[in-house]
Symmetry: C2
Subunit: 277 residues, 2 copies
Amino acid sequence: MSSYKEKAIGVFDSGMGGLTCVKELQKLLPGEDIIYFGDTARVPYGTRSRERILEYARQDVSFIESHSVKMVIAACGTVSSAVGSDPSFGGDVPFLGVVSPAGRAAANATRNGLIGVIGTAATIRSGAYEHIIHEISPEVSVISDCCPLFVPMVEEGMTDPSDIVVRSVVERYLSKIKSAGVDTLILGCTHYPHLEKAISDFMGDNVTLISSGAAAAAEAKDLLREKGLLRTDGHTGRLDCYTSDSAELFRENVQVFMGGDFCGTVERVSVEQLCSS
Amino acid sequence: MSSYKEKAIGVFDSGMGGLTCVKELQKLLPGEDIIYFGDTARVPYGTRSRERILEYARQDVSFIESHSVKMVIAACGTVSSAVGSDPSFGGDVPFLGVVSPAGRAAANATRNGLIGVIGTAATIRSGAYEHIIHEISPEVSVISDCCPLFVPMVEEGMTDPSDIVVRSVVERYLSKIKSAGVDTLILGCTHYPHLEKAISDFMGDNVTLISSGAAAAAEAKDLLREKGLLRTDGHTGRLDCYTSDSAELFRENVQVFMGGDFCGTVERVSVEQLCSS
């Protein structure tokens, strides 16, 4: 069994956003190896149809599993919302999205029974967060909205809370949710934690922000512990990244997502390889 | 020869932006059939590497040419910039990008010899507009910048010049170019004409805006006339669209790009079909 424990945790996302989940995993589980796949040649998923998102996600999972992992995390709100609660999506290994962990965390956190959810257009259209929250707490009210400019803003490094563009876009998207009086807000896309300060400034200190990537990382740790799959041999975890666009472009952009902390390998995988996997 | 003249003009873009060029073509050449392909399953191209852009563009051209067209227009600043001035890119039929037509139009329009260029990150990185302008007028100065939020803003319908978000983003991206004192500005991405009013308000009446899609449409007309390929049989042109994501999503979004004017067919083509074409 020890060799099985030594397998990596597989994480994938439509692009770079899933690295917020990787950062949390590294904090919680510094001894685990992580294999990350960012589908940068086909990012973003959040504006595409559900059919296309599922097709891409299946290819991403097949690719990740070709690396012999002990668990797969879809660190992507859009994919997690499209898949819903289908535990078989990961094939033979445990599969975890970000929707259920974040939904559970929010249902636990709310005191007034009003939860806000923000995500990509596809995520909000799916109603997946509402679904999981109502399964846990049918009496909770959920108000949700999509924030299409947040992903490109983060990718451009436009996240400073004092920036007039950042402030006006945050206000535009969150006014309705703030007026509704939510006390908990799910950042339902793994890009959004980079806007956490700006969102928090607008929403106020009384609103608890739930990062979907961090919630998934915490739940992944619990799941691996339950299954006796946590690595305990004192190993220092490594991070191996794969990207479907150029490795150079990935390296250029990784700073935005992991700051100076990135210490891993990057390799390109072709889209043809994905399509045939 | 008459049957050859009756072939359609093929137009493609990474997504929906190329429809601004289609609208101009319909105005200038109402008797021509148009086949449009929008690669909505892989949009945007502007954040990807040159290698990936060329790979996608070759597949797009092959797909368009499988419909037996008399000309191919890359109605996409990113593709046109990556291809450069390679007339053989279209294979057996004339191939036209938007860079050369817009560069020529700007070189003709400037009076003070200062031209601004805005486009996607990949377009600006390529230096393609500078290259063509300097070929025509070596003494002209070109100042360029990328505007990554413009495409998602247009796709969200956020184009109202009085909108604080629109105004602050336009100001952010264009201040340097305005300060440089340009009298001509190339909208080097086919999405940008939807922000024309906001850009014009900021730049002032003395600055001539050149829409790359409109410039390409005008040059396409000249080229077809020169080659004796203009249709003259009194036919009313039709528009047949293909999209790599769902046809329904294309229909939903087409209003943003063509207003109430859209009257055409929409059919989905799979990415696998593109990869193998």
